[in-house]
């Protein structure tokens, strides 16, 4: 019997899309754990809802598009969209928020554009942006950093479930008692009200580097990011460029006017900085593809996010910055083609 004659190479490295996605998910676990420590168990409910919605949406879309369901449902990409979106939402946000955001991300931003590999925009960020412009109030209801157990108010798992599924707090709690502005938000509003940065940061929601709790979540994300970097799941270009895009303008502005502008460390350890740099902007499908292109892309995200945070209408700007730079990817790719071997630069 003749032997098979496929084309070379005859052997490949044991790698797969699902392996890549699995490692990224594992890398987020420390951050999620710290998130529950500081902000309570709400995020676990949000994650569950997001994952269920993502898988259901993925299944429906694959069936409608007559794609191999099993192959794509198990690739892990929908899980990443779900987890990233859930990590961006306030832990007690009502259930329909995370469900509609995730469904929008998967169905519209991913599958309407052709599914895995074809989406020009980061699905999680599309979902988040839709929620942010549609339901701004619900998205600013961030819990106080100590709610996870150290808080003066007592909030049980049942209370969290009640808030998420009923949409209001149980009778013995009020939003004022359990929420507090995020550090980025607090700095913004205080500066707008004429306070100096030092006065704004004198409140108890601030910690050593950035916001209380937030700084630890960001450091845990950084840890996971360094881990996937060491496994070569991502390259250094995008995270370094995003962080530089945030830190460079922040440091300059802070040096010029320390009373009105927060410094680089605060920006790097607040909001979605680390998540954006290591896990959101590094989504390769919607990112620029050459090394040089990725530096441009990442720096664009960092500096746009800084601009939005400092002068724009939203406390954090990572999502919009990512989407704007997604838009610029074809242009960046066109102008950052690396020099080919044996050709002049």
């Amino acid at each position: 019997m003749p032997l098979p004659t496929p084309q070379p190479p005859h052997t490949v490295a044991p790698n797969s899309v699902s392996r890549v996605m699995r490692i990224v998910l594992i890398a987020l676990i420390p951050a999620i754990l710290l998130h529950t420590v500081f902000f309570g168990v709400g995020i676990l409910v949000q994650l569950t809802l997001a994952i269920a919605t993502a898988l259901a949406s993925e299944y429906v879309a694959l069936r409608l598009r007559q794609q191999p369901v099993r192959q794509f449902l198990t690739d892990g990409s929908a899980l990443i969209t779900a987890v990233l979106l859930a990590m961006c939402l306030p832990p007690l946000a009502p259930w329909w928020l995370v469900v509609s955001g995730t469904a929008f991300g998967i169905l519209i931003a991913k599958h309407l554009y052709g599914g895995l590999g074809s989406n020009p925009f980061n699905p999680a960020m599309v979902g988040y942006a839709v929620l942010l412009v549609s339901f701004p109030v619900q998205l600013t209801r961030w819990l106080s950093p100590d709610i996870g157990g150290l808080a003066p108010v007592d909030m049980s798992f049942g209370d969290s479930l009640y808030a998420i599924f009923v949409g209001t707090l149980p009778p013995h709690l009020t939003w004022d008692a359990v929420t507090s502005p995020t550090p980025l938000d607090a700095v913004r509003t205080s500066l707008k009200a004429g306070l100096t940065l030092q006065e704004a940061q004198a409140t108890p929601i601030f910690g050593m580097l950035g916001g209380r709790g937030w700084e630890w979540v960001n450091l845990a994300v950084l840890l996971g990011g360094i881990w996937i970097l060491s496994l070569r799941i991502i390259r250094w270009h995008i995270p370094v460029a995003v962080l530089a895009g945030l830190a460079v303008p922040a440091a300059i502005m802070h040096a010029v006017d320390p009373g009105s502008y927060a410094g680089a460390v605060f920006h790097l350890t607040s909001g979605a900085s680390m998540l954006g740099a290591f896990f959101i902007a590094t989504d390769p499908i919607s990112a620029a593809t050459s090394d040089r292109g990725r530096l441009v892309y990442g720096f664009g995200i960092g500096s746009i996010a800084y601009t939005i945070r400092t002068w724009g209408g939203y406390p954090d700007g990572i999502a919009f910055a990512v989407l704007l730079m997604n838009l610029a990817v074809p242009l960046i790719d066109r102008y950052t083609v690396p020099r080919i071997y044996g050709r002049a630069a």
Binding site: L3, R235, S290, G342
Partner: protein, 479 residues
């Protein structure tokens, strides 16, 4: 473009030890030799014999046609049985082959023209051509054609022993056991080229080979430089090796001689020594027979035209049914459908792979643009973009992004998490792009001839009108 550092490539797990544990030995000589006429790059050779002719060992049986072609010689004495199309490792539909039945007498051909010891360089170059020598690293480019295009003098000769495919060890064994041939061949080639110097490169894990080379070089009057290069696949790719050694790049679309370099494989150089020194044309070569399905992997000295099956028998046969039979290595070698095919000049290795040796790609997923491929590409291409353009049929972009700079090393396939057969797609796109570029080159000519015709018609029309007007004028004037 000086002092470039070579980027890209892969650190691959090697399997060379399997076949280097046993010493080099001669393979069995078969009763029937099958010798394809197209076993070199370029134009197939033209037969000089007919069915029924008696031939001696080393006798020329086919001559080159044109500049890029090569002589072919009888590997043993015997009778030409047929010149016919037969299955060959070179073409799916088989090749025209000279079939010789071994008469067992081993009668040598003694009418080769002699090369005087003090022959001038150009005569040496011409004489090398008569040995039927081609690049034995796998590309089988006729050495005569390479020398014809080489600079008249002062080229730098690079002898390539950087054998980077993870299973192949024929160059390693050649260097270990016949380093003298390589050093002698390099000296002769240097004379033929009037080269300014010579560098022999081996991979840094070929310790025994490097030692043997250094020992042999001690006896040389003008010893070559011996350099160990990092074993990062494809370290032995011609362009990659040149850049590693010199820090210079071979121009895109150009050849090493454009930067004053001639690159030859160690096997080729040893074959030159055997031809010039011993009068033996290229009728034998070293073949690595290896793979998990082979009982006792080894390197064999093989007569061209010997069936693969004979070599496999010599190595103890199959230990298990092979999952794949590959001529060449696992990265760039070609899978063969059967083991009855003959050894050709380019057969450096036969891998009878067991299922465990192969990690076949899983189901193909869409490209996620991760860029692993561009990171390992030794030609600094963006395979992820090339793939997109190939799927979309964007030929101009394929050209702009350097499809023809792809050396098909397979590094991109190897690291792709989506298991996309990138090289296969690129190979398929290349002829299409060639046609497109040819059409595009023709377009200005077609445009020029169209415009010339339009202008001519316009001129004729203008002349006709002028004549008409003149006629009218003369008529009006008359009346």
């Amino acid at each position: 473009m000086t002092n470039q550092i070579r980027r890209g490539g892969l650190k691959l797990e090697t399997h060379k030890r399997r076949s280097t544990m046993r010493p080099l030995r001669a393979a069995s000589v078969p009763d029937l030799f099958v010798l394809p006429l197209n076993q070199h790059a370029g134009t197939p050779a033209r037969p000089l014999v007919a069915a029924g002719d008696r031939v001696a060992r080393g006798q020329p049986i086919a001559e080159p046609v044109g500049d890029v072609s090569a002589w072919l010689h009888a590997p043993a004495s015997g009778i030409v049985r047929a010149i016919e199309n037969r299955p060959s490792p070179l073409a799916r539909d088989g090749s025209l082959c000279i079939v010789i039945e071994n008469d067992g007498a081993d009668r040598a051909f003694d009418a080769h023209p002699q090369l005087p010891a003090d022959a001038p360089p150009h005569e040496m170059r011409e004489h090398i051509a008569r040995g039927g020598i081609v690049g034995l690293g796998g590309a089988v480019f006729p050495t005569s054609a390479k020398l014809l295009r080489a600079p008249e003098q002062n080229a730098h000769l690079i002898v390539n022993g950087a054998e980077c495919e993870p299973w192949i060890s024929c160059d390693d064994m050649l260097l270990r056991e016949r380093a003298d041939d390589v050093i002698a061949g390099a000296e002769m080639l240097c004379r033929a080229l009037q080269a300014e110097g010579c560098t022999i490169a081996v991979e840094d894990d070929m310790v025994e080979a490097a030692e043997a080379l250094r020992l042999a070089a001690r006896k040389s009057a003008s010893p070559p430089r011996i350099v160990e290069v990092p074993s990062i696949y494809p370290a032995g790719g011609e362009r990659q090796l040149i850049t590693t050694l010199t820090g210079r790049e071979v121009p895109s679309g150009g050849l090493p001689q454009d930067i004053g370099i001639v690159c030859q494989n160690v096997g080729t150089v040893a074959a030159i020594a055997r031809w010039l020194r011993d009068g033996e044309p290229l009728i034998r070569r070293i073949v690595t027979v290896t793979g998990g399905a082979i009982a006792h992997a080894a390197n064999l000295d093989v007569h061209l035209g010997t069936p693969f099956a004979t070599l496999i028998e010599d190595c103890g046969g199959f230990r298990e049914p092979p999952a794949r039979l590959i001529m060449g290595g696992t990265m760039m070698g070609i899978a063969m459908s059967e083991d009855s095919l003959p050894v050709v000049k380019g057969t450096n290795c036969i891998v009878a792979a067991s299922a465990a040796d192969l990690q076949p790609p899983g189901p193909e997923m869409p490209c996620i643009r991760c860029g692993n491929c561009s990171e390992v590409c030794p030609a600094y291409l963006l395979p992820q973009q090339l793939h997109r353009f190939a799927l979309a049929g964007e030929l101009d972009n394929l050209d702009r992004y350097g499809l023809f700079d792809c050396i098909e090393c397979g590094c991109c396939d190897y690291v792709c998490p989506s298991q996309i057969p990138l090289v296969e797609r690129f190979r398929r796109a290349k002829p299409e792009l060639s046609r497109h570029l040819a059409m595009r080159a023709m377009a200005p000519r077609a445009k020029a001839s169209y415009e010339a015709r339009e202008a001519r018609l316009e001129r004729l029309e203008a002349e006709r009108r002028a004549k008409l007007a003149e006629k009218r004028k003369s008529i009006t004037n008359k009346t």
